[in-house]
């Protein structure tokens, strides 16, 4: 068991290094993508400067707290697109019958596919999650927690995407659903939780777990640290990860390896 965990971590790492090496051959584009992403994230700060000129706080969240949400969201997005960027190719891989290679290798197919690609711009997002901390003048220990929070948020994000994109095995436009859910996750997580009503909050704590993407990590890992809430968040995240693996595995039985799938229909 421990050996398997070690081997899988090694696999994630090998893939990551290989992906970076590949992109590193075009250094100008590499840095361009990275810097553009950071500037992109910085742009949104102005929006909040203007908003918090109109009101002091939104449900207890002022400028700093809102920025923290953005930092965690950027970190989550960044970590999962850097380590598991291949998840966003699942639809194409399944429809083009390109899963074969992964199926002949002795690793979890899902993990293998997810690790197979890295989005360079995502590294900019990871960097931004720390830049935010500097902007809001965070205490030193927030810097230590940020990678952990980012990876946790990233796991929620990628798992949700995989759960819904696994519908691709059954229906042709499965990825449209996944993209819509992802879009909701991506957009709603950046705003102070107080603006949502209870019905929406209920959705955010369950089917579309926006809460565990940003709200819970922000509140209980940074603002008011609470070990039990953190453990709860870890457990909930683990549940989504397991669900992602299960959904993908179920779908895999439907995999047709390019026969009578996608284009040929």
């Amino acid at each position: 068991m421990l050996m398997a965990v070690k081997n899988n971590l090694k696999l994630i790492f090998s893939y990551f290094i290989l992906n970076i090496k590949k992109e590193w051959k075009y250094k100008a584009s590499f840095f361009m993508q990275l810097i553009m992403m950071i500037v992109n994230d910085l742009f949104f700060i102005i929006q909040w400067v203007i908003i918090f000129n109109l009101v002091d706080n939104i449900g207890g969240y002022g400028f700093n707290e809102t920025m923290l949400l953005w930092g965690i969201a950027a970190g989550g997005y960044g970590w999962c697109h850097a380590l598991f960027g291949g998840a966003w190719n699942i639809k194409d891989i399944v429809y083009d019958g390109k899963l074969d290679v992964y199926l002949t290798q002795p690793k979890s197919v899902l993990l293998n596919v997810c690790c197979s690609s890295t989005e360079i711009a995502a590294l900019g997002d990871i960097a931004y999650s720390f830049i935010v901390l500097a902007i809001i003048g965070a205490p030193w220990w927030w810097y230590l927690i940020m990678p952990f929070a980012g990876i946790l948020a990233g796991l929620v994000y990628v798992s949700v995407y995989v759960v819904f994109t696994s519908l691709c095995f059954y229906i042709k436009r499965g990825d449209a659903i996944a993209k819509s859910v992802e879009g909701t996750l991506n957009k709603s997580g950046n705003y102070p939780p107080a603006i949502y009503n209870n019905v929406v909050k209920a959705i955010f704590y369950t089917v579309i777990p926006v809460a565990f993407y940003t709200f819970v990590p922000a509140q209980f890992m940074f603002l008011t640290f609470n070990i039990w809430a953190v453990l709860g968040a870890v457990g909930f995240t683990a549940l989504w990860v397991i669900l992602a693996f299960a959904m993908f595995k179920m779908g895999l039985k439907k995999y047709n390896s390019g026969n009578l799938m996608g284009g040929r229909l």
């Binding site: 696999l11 290989l18 390109k98 002949t104 002795p106 047709n256 390896s257 026969n259």
Partner: protein, 325 residues
């Protein structure tokens, strides 16, 4: 020892097509289900160390079979055992022990060197660093890739790439190697190189080879045993020697001459078609030889000549005819 045991294996594909209305237009909502048996109840077994060719025309079910053997596809029904394991249930366990090369689907990352690729495969297969190093060295010597394995794969020639692909699929020391249409789309020289490599793996490393192709030429040199599949069913399971004697004994010669000549009658030489100076002649190699036929023309009279083996489709027809008689 039997390494592959297949019993009554079936795979069906279900597809839904839009119903075509009487007026020729396609219905938007109504779909009809159609079931195609890609593999229709086949049984066979393979011994350790064998080199087996699994051939058939396009759409015969070769790829579907090999994909069920390697755990890529779930069978609809029937039993499969590869190295004593069920491929779809013990996929991971099995994949440590088998290798696969799927034609046209390259597994190497082209921007990186073959050596970097090998190191990556090392982590896919959990091979220890020193073991991997020794293995790369050993294989590099056998396949003679030392000179170019540190260059980016994209700068290599087709032949060099193929060698590197082979090494990559042998790094984890598989007991069996599966090839799915490895020669498809290759030029004659590359095909020849590949066949030699596969032969080498079988003879020198003792690896069991399972090989699919729609090209009879592929198997003549590489394999000792052959299974022919058509429409999802096995039509022949025999030694290469027998196949050669009974079905690959005929060659087709097409000649275009400068002037009309009369071809004398001879046992084993049949004129299939004659149109002015164009001749299509079948030569039975068991009864006569190519020399005999070619001796009938003056070299100066020849304008154009092609010699080919009997196409696979004709062999299959031939087999059906034989079984019906």
């Amino acid at each position: 020892m039997k390494v592959i045991e297949v019993e009554n294996l079936r795979k069906e594909f279900v597809s839904k097509k839009r119903v075509t209305k009487p007026n020729g237009k396609k219905s938007i909502f109504k779909r009809e289900k159609s079931i195609k048996n890609a593999v229709d109840g086949i049984s066979f077994s393979v011994e350790e160390g064998e080199a087996l060719a699994f051939i058939g025309p396009n759409g015969a079910g070769k790829s579907t079979t090999i994909k069920m053997l390697t755990g890529i596809l779930y069978p609809t029904s029937g039993d499969v055992k590869v190295l004593g394991l069920n491929p779809s249930e013990d996929r991971i366990k099995l994949s440590y022990q088998i290798g696969s090369v799927f034609g046209q689907k390259e597994q190497l990352w082209v921007h990186l060197s073959a050596y970097e690729n090998f190191k990556f495969f090392g982590s896919i297969y959990d091979i220890k660093k020193d073991v991997l190093k020794a293995r790369i060295e050993e294989l590099a010597n056998i396949f003679e890739i030392n000179d170019f394995m540190h260059q980016p794969v994209k700068s290599l020639s087709l032949g060099q790439r193929m060698k590197c692909e082979m090494v990559a699929s042998l790094l984890h020391n598989p007991k069996m190697l599966f090839f799915d249409e490895p020669t498809i789309g290759l030029d004659p020289i590359a095909k020849e190189t590949l066949r030699k490599l596969i032969k080498k793996i079988n003879r020198e490393l003792g690896t069991t080879i399972f090989f699919t192709s729609h090209d009879v030429g592929d198997i003549e040199e590489v394999c000792k045993r052959v299974i022919i599949i058509n429409d999802g069913k096995i039509v022949l399971d025999d030694s290469m020697k027998n196949l050669k004697y009974h079905h690959l004994n005929k060659k087709i010669v097409e000649v275009n001459l400068k002037k009309n000549v009369t071809i004398p009658k001879k046992d084993g030489i049949t004129i299939l078609k004659a149109k002015e100076t164009l001749y299509k002649i079948e030569v039975d190699m068991n009864k006569t030889s190519m020399d005999e036929l070619l001796g009938m023309f003056k070299a100066d009279d020849l304008q154009d000549i092609t010699i080919s083996s009997t196409p696979l489709e004709d062999i299959i027809k031939d087999i059906y005819r034989g079984t019906n008689e």
